[in-house]
Symmetry: C2
């Protein structure tokens, strides 16, 4: 069964189940366990870190055929909403796996450049007072789109099988005090989006030249890029299951 999930990541230590701490998978699997007898293992498209949010997370689990998706949705929401909301539950084609079947992930990183934070979304937006030059950020983003070795934007490159990824989209939009960075790729390295966002913020405030990006990529060293932006500004927006490109 396939679940489309939104959550406020503020009070979770990320997605992945861990002993002793509160995680999104932990509370979902426990709630599912009450329905099906035994907590199933959820496969998930985006293993979000502590504090990261999701609007369009997708998870799947092997479910007994008699289970009604609408009942699953209703029961999970009764236990977990509005912190974790199942937006949709449905049967998936044979062989569907939320993680392995996914062909793209889309993230949005949000920055509030205004002088004071906004109480209504301070938990979802990085408050970073001071103007950002969006045109510079766009120039930098243009250098980063494509197929590259993103080792400079990955927290612990050694722990992953290769650091080459295809960044399909990296756009910067702004409206009033808000700047949004949208990133789409078949898959990302660990903390890659936050490293991209932190680096683009340094480009926006003039600390890094936008045309330094090719050199930063070539350095293949985390120290070459800008800082990692805080987790709470990041939201997993959408997971794609179209054809692989």
């Amino acid at each position: 069964m396939r679940l489309l999930i939104a959550y406020d990541g503020t009070d979770f230590r990320g997605w992945a189940r861990q002993p002793e701490v509160r995680t999104v998978a932990g509370v979902l699997e426990e709630a599912l366990g009450r329905l099906v007898g035994k907590p199933p293992h959820l496969s998930v498209a985006g293993r979000t870190d502590a504090g990261v949010h999701a609007r369009g997370q997708v998870a799947s689990f092997p479910a007994p055929g008699h289970l009604d998706p609408e009942r699953v949705q209703r029961a999970l929401n009764a236990m977990l909403a509005p912190e974790v909301v199942v937006r949709e539950a449905r049967w998936a084609p044979q062989g569907f796996d939320a993680r392995h079947s996914a062909t793209s992930r889309e993230y949005l990183y949000r920055i509030d450049t205004g002088p004071v934070p906004d109480p209504f979304d301070a938990r979802y937006v990085w408050h970073r007072p001071g103007e950002l030059v969006v045109s510079s950020m766009r120039t930098a983003a243009g250098h980063l789109v494509g197929n590259h070795d993103f080792a400079s934007f990955c927290r612990v490159p050694g722990r992953q099988a290769g650091t080459v990824r295809t960044l399909r989209t990296l756009t910067v939009v702004s409206k009033g005090d808000r700047v949004g960075i949208r990133a789409v790729a078949p898959s990302f390295l660990h903390q890659m989006v936050r490293s991209l966002a932190g680096t683009l913020a340094w480009v926006g405030d003039g600390r890094i030249d936008p045309d330094a990006m090719p050199g930063i990529l070539a350095a293949r060293s985390r120290g070459a890029a800008g800082p990692m932006a805080p987790a709470h500004g990041l939201t997993l927006v959408r997971v794609g299951y179209g054809r692989r490109r």
Copy 2:
């Protein structure tokens, strides 16, 4: 000194200072007390109830002339943001009083009619699944605008000096699953906006005919109108200090 304030009302028992409970005025006055030696009394434009939010609340207090407004803003935000944010602090003309000088208050009541709540604004929006017929709500609102006795939309009419008010604006806007009710008046009765919102919701779902409004006003009885909408959907948006009309 005049303060422009935004707050998330979720964890407050309203604006007004009360012993033993956490209120917005309570935390602000205490924080100001640390700056000026003794907690001042804040005059406020809108005494919001428990759970009600504000984007553009205005408060004022008598401040010693050597106090720097920017320092007040910085210090209060350092202590209270992002739950309570001072958006602006400045000197006001002699005789200014946030409550008595105000000439209009504008409130926004928000409803989410979608099937499941949204984790990112569930605390600021009344989640009420099921379609609302906005055109009917607008017809009803048209009957309510103007100078009327609003006793039917007031929680405890007996405790206030008169129940006649001039509702200058009552508009209903909708976008996707969201319905917003905007109300502007020189002043409102206690819980009047929430009573208007609850009544308009009953109009929207067909339980009350929009053309029943004149009769409901004439009844001058709280029981004649619809229910009171929950506090957390309400936000004080703006306070006006223009000429009295």
